[in-house]
């Protein structure tokens, strides 16, 4: 493998890994804030117990998101310096804005929230977790603004002297329609992830407690875990609908903006009207659409996903051959080295990641309906299968998110900055042109191996901690109403929480 392939692998590994922690952080922060709000407003202590329980899991997860996030920002300069030179005038701004507007807020106010339980007034303390919840979502907005520009560059002009992209309007970049489809999609997916996480863990606990038959334990299941199951499942349902609607919107934009991605998601050779959506396809590994055989198809559905019409002229979907011909004519037939450029992304990867994204997300959202049935009318259940499904459901939205990113990033290939069909043709960059020229393949290989090994070890630690703290269950809240304890509530008390 050369430096390009290695740098791509490294980016894929570190980004997919980073995005295990990110959606849970984005979705769980608001859910924990909602739990704490319920406690502050009603004084009902079960919400305090749930806040502390899920808050602890949130923190274990947040730490991993933070430390793997720094790598992301540095990686553009380290492995992709030529990309950085080409796009820096445009692409750097949203990253810097993310740090200034969002990341400072989340890290500072999270510190206040963790250590401030007794130091801050209840409402101020609650405001801290809300600040975190808003900021993590704002973070997502700026990062997606940067990514959406790579998918669909707008608000940019080309400087022929330097050969680089230059920002023309920050408003156009922040108003990019690709961003406004991707942002709700990613955030809804994050809420689906967090909702499933909360509901899955609470469902497992509920079943476990009910099965003991012990009266106080069943009461705990009913009073504490059942509300958490409800909060999680309602979040899942709303988020599931949001993911679907925003995803549909994205599909239609993608059809206009990156026809190659849509064509390869269907492994479609020739353009056709009323294109079918295949559910099962067999092909060879040559990345040629010729050898692909569709086995199970839903007629017209692929056309509908792209164009909004099932049949007729409007439902025309271009195939990978059409895209190849159109791009060769409009952009270039060969790259700098004189090699012919293939404008077809990896077909098997885009085809399957697209389906796994949809299937896994829809599956986990559907489980929410099952959970609502089992808990209808104040019921709690001791059904062992319910607990199992709850636990097994937890990873599905994580996987769906990962496949979504794998689809959208690999489907953009061979571009790192995909050309905008209605924009300026020079604002485009092949991935092979973006890689650092002064970094040797050995160096990239070394850093990739080190990151992968370290990330692997940390994944084990993270997984064990999440598991053990989940199994520990909601904490008791201790009340010390003695006068000394009350006096201690003031600013005099140095530590209410300690590492």
């Amino acid at each position: 493998m050369d430096a390009l392939d290695l740098a791509r692998w490294q980016f894929a590994i570190t980004t997919v890994y980073h995005f295990i922690f990110v959606p849970l952080t984005i979705g769980l922060a608001p859910l924990v804030a909602i739990m704490q709000t319920a406690w502050v407003r009603t004084g009902d202590e079960r919400w305090l117990r749930l806040t502390k329980f899920f808050g602890k899991l949130f923190l274990i997860n947040f730490a991993m998101g933070v430390v793997t996030g720094i790598v992301q920002e540095f990686q553009f300069g380290m492995n992709w310096s030529e990309y950085s030179r080409f796009v820096g005038d445009v692409f750097g701004a949203p990253l810097a804005m993310e740090a200034l507007a969002a990341f400072f807020v989340e890290s500072t106010f999270l510190g206040l929230w963790i250590f401030g339980w007794d130091r801050l007034n209840k409402k101020v303390h609650l405001a801290c977790i809300w600040a975190v919840a808003v900021a993590v979502n704002l973070s997502a907005f700026f990062i997606l603004a940067a990514n959406s520009w790579m998918q669909h560059p707008v608000g940019t002009r080309f400087n022929p002297e330097t050969g680089r992209a230059e920002m023309e309007s920050i408003w156009a970049i922040l108003a990019n329609n690709t961003l406004w489809a991707a942002f709700p999609h990613a955030v809804a997916a994050a809420f689906l992830t967090a909702g499933t996480f909360v509901a899955g863990i609470a469902a497992w606990w509920m079943v476990r407690l009910v099965r003991t038959g012990d009266e106080t334990r069943v009461a705990l299941a009913r009073e504490v875990y059942r509300p958490a199951v409800m909060l999680g499942t309602v979040t899942m349902l709303v988020a599931g609908i949001g993911v679907g609607v925003s995803g549909d919107l994205q599909g239609k934009l993608m059809f206009e903006q990156q026809p190659g991605k849509m064509a390869s998601a269907e492994a479609l050779c020739e353009g056709t009207e009323s294109a079918a959506f295949s559910i099962l396809t067999v092909g060879d590994l040559s990345n040629s659409c010729e050898g692909v055989r569709h086995i199970l198809e839903v007629p017209g559905l692929a056309s509908y996903l792209g164009t909004g019409s099932f049949s007729g002229e409007d439902s025309y979907l271009p195939g990978v051959y059409d895209v190849q011909a159109a791009y060769e004519e409009r952009y270039a037939e060969t790259d700098d080295a004189g090699e012919p450029i293939s404008y077809t992304p990896n077909l098997a990867l885009t085809y399957w990641s697209f389906r796994l994204m949809i299937g896994l997300a829809a599956g986990s959202a559907a489980l929410a309906l099952l959970a609502l049935w089992f808990t209808r009318g104040g019921r709690v259940t001791g059904n062992r299968w319910f607990a199992r499904v709850g636990v097994w459901a937890i990873p599905t939205p994580f996987l769906a998110s990962s496949f979504g990113w794998i689809f959208t990033e690999t489907g953009r290939q061979p571009w790192v900055v995909a050309p905008n069909p209605t924009g300026i043709d020079q604002i485009r960059l092949l991935t092979e042109r973006g890689v650092s020229t002064v970094v040797s393949p050995g160096m990239v290989l070394f850093s990739m191996v080190v990151f992968t090994v370290l990330y692997g070890v940390l994944a084990v630690v993270w997984g064990r901690l999440m598991h053990r703290y989940a199994v520990e269950g909601v904490p008791d809240v201790v009340h010390d109403e003695s006068p000394e304890a009350r006096a201690d509530d003031d600013a005099d008390r140095p530590l209410s929480f300690a590492y």
Binding site: I60, A63, V66, V67, G69, I70, V71, E73, F74, F76, G77, M78, N79, S81, E82, S84, R85, V87, G88, D89, V90, G92, A93, L95, A96, E98, A99, L100, A101, F103, F104, V105, S107, T108, F109, L110, G111, L112, I114, F115, G116, R119, L120, E166, M167, T437, V438, V439, S447, V450, F451, L454, V461, L465, V471, A491, P494, L495, A498, Y499
Partner: protein, 353 residues
């Protein structure tokens, strides 16, 4: 005012924020095995309590401090793409090591107390210390190379290779940041702890500031003689005065003033570094090809957008971060540290009914 020069100054400000703030939490991390009493005298538990005092003084703030690095990095990307690209691809190995260090350090801070187990704590302590010493040294190496100049080609690519970064001037620069951060951390601990720890931190700070005068002074003389411009003598003098002040103030137990003075020393170091680099962002080695502020800068439009964002948001950031330090202003001592709250085997068994 030329926006590119304004942004050169703003990048220096962001690095100042980073080095002053994360500087002390690197220092605290490096002192984790040095300042607490030995297990022979304090017992394993006593030693661990003192370590936890150290970690808890920076617990609420270390992550917020680290964001200054992300902001400096992001702002460099936005305002000086060419600098960002050349620097990050050229200084690949040191940056990789810094990243790895920051990862294990951050995770160790957050996870150390989550499991109540002696072996686990020792591993996290190792991670915190390796994760603090490594960047403390390497940031100095990186910045000293920027003062000294690096080998660039006509396309502004760094072509000097890794080993050229480890020249004597840069290695001494690494020692300077290490000593300055150690000092800054010791003064911070004298300010934020109470009792015996405060005494020991104060004594250590006095000793370290003498070392800092020698090491940083020697490096600054070298820089002034070989690579810098006359006006940065002001920064050197300010740093020297501040370091002497740290000795006086810690002896008088005025730790707040001492902390401000050790921060001044770090500010002076940034002034010296950026003053020496100007008008380049990456000076050429021995008068070779260089990358200037103007060449590296983004377009006026992008710089204008970034200026508006920075002018609105930076004061806000400073305000709420300052408030955080105010909220957690109380001094800590070993008596304040509660029993470990992490998972134990007993708690795991209990949870299993």
């Amino acid at each position: 005012m030329d926006l590119a020069i304004l942004w050169f100054v703003l990048i220096a400000v962001l690095w100042t924020g980073y080095l002053v703030l994360e500087g002390f939490d690197f220092g605290v991390g490096m002192l984790l095995s040095i300042l607490p009493r030995g297990a022979a005298r304090a017992g394993v538990e006593g030693r661990d309590k003192e370590r936890r005092v150290l970690i808890n003084t920076i617990g609420p703030v270390w992550d917020g401090n680290e964001v200054w690095l992300l902001t400096a990095g992001g702002a460099t990307f936005a305002a000086f793409p060419e600098w960002y690209a050349t620097l990050f691809s050229g200084f690949y190995v040191p940056l990789l090591l810094i990243l790895l260090a920051l990862i294990v350090r951050g995770v160790a801070f957050e996870y150390r107390g989550k499991i109540s187990d002696e072996v686990w704590r020792r591993r996290c302590d190792v991670a915190i210390q390796v994760g603090s010493w490594t960047p403390a040294f390497l940031w100095g190496v990186a910045f000293a190379n920027l003062v000294r100049g690096v080998q660039l080609d006509a396309a502004h690519q760094y072509v000097g290779g890794f080993w050229a970064l480890l020249n004597p001037f840069a290695l001494l620069g690494g020692l300077v940041t290490t000593v300055l951060f150690l000092l800054h951390g010791a003064v911070f601990l004298a300010l934020r702890t109470d009792g015996d720890l405060r005494e020991r931190a104060g004594r250590l700070a006095s000793a370290l500031s003498v070392v800092a005068v020698v090491v940083a002074g020697g490096w600054a003389m070298w820089a002034q003689a070989a690579y810098s411009v006359p006006w940065t003598w002001v920064a050197v003098a300010a740093a020297a005065g501040a370091l002497v002040g740290v000795v006086v103030m810690t002896r008088r137990r005025k730790e707040g003033t001492a902390f401000a003075l050790s921060a001044v020393a770090l500010v002076a170091a940034v002034v010296l570094i950026f003053g020496s680099m100007y008008p380049d962002v990456m000076p050429g080695l021995d008068g070779g090809e260089s990358l200037t502020v103007t060449e590296a800068a983004s377009t006026p439009y992008t710089l204008g957008v970034m200026t508006v964002v920075a002018v609105i948001l930076t004061p806000l950031v400073l305000a709420y971060q300052a408030w955080t330090y105010w909220v957690f202003r109380r001094r800590l001592s070993a008596e304040d540290i509660p029993a470990p709250a992490g998972l134990t085997w007993k708690r795991i068994k209990d949870a299993a009914f």
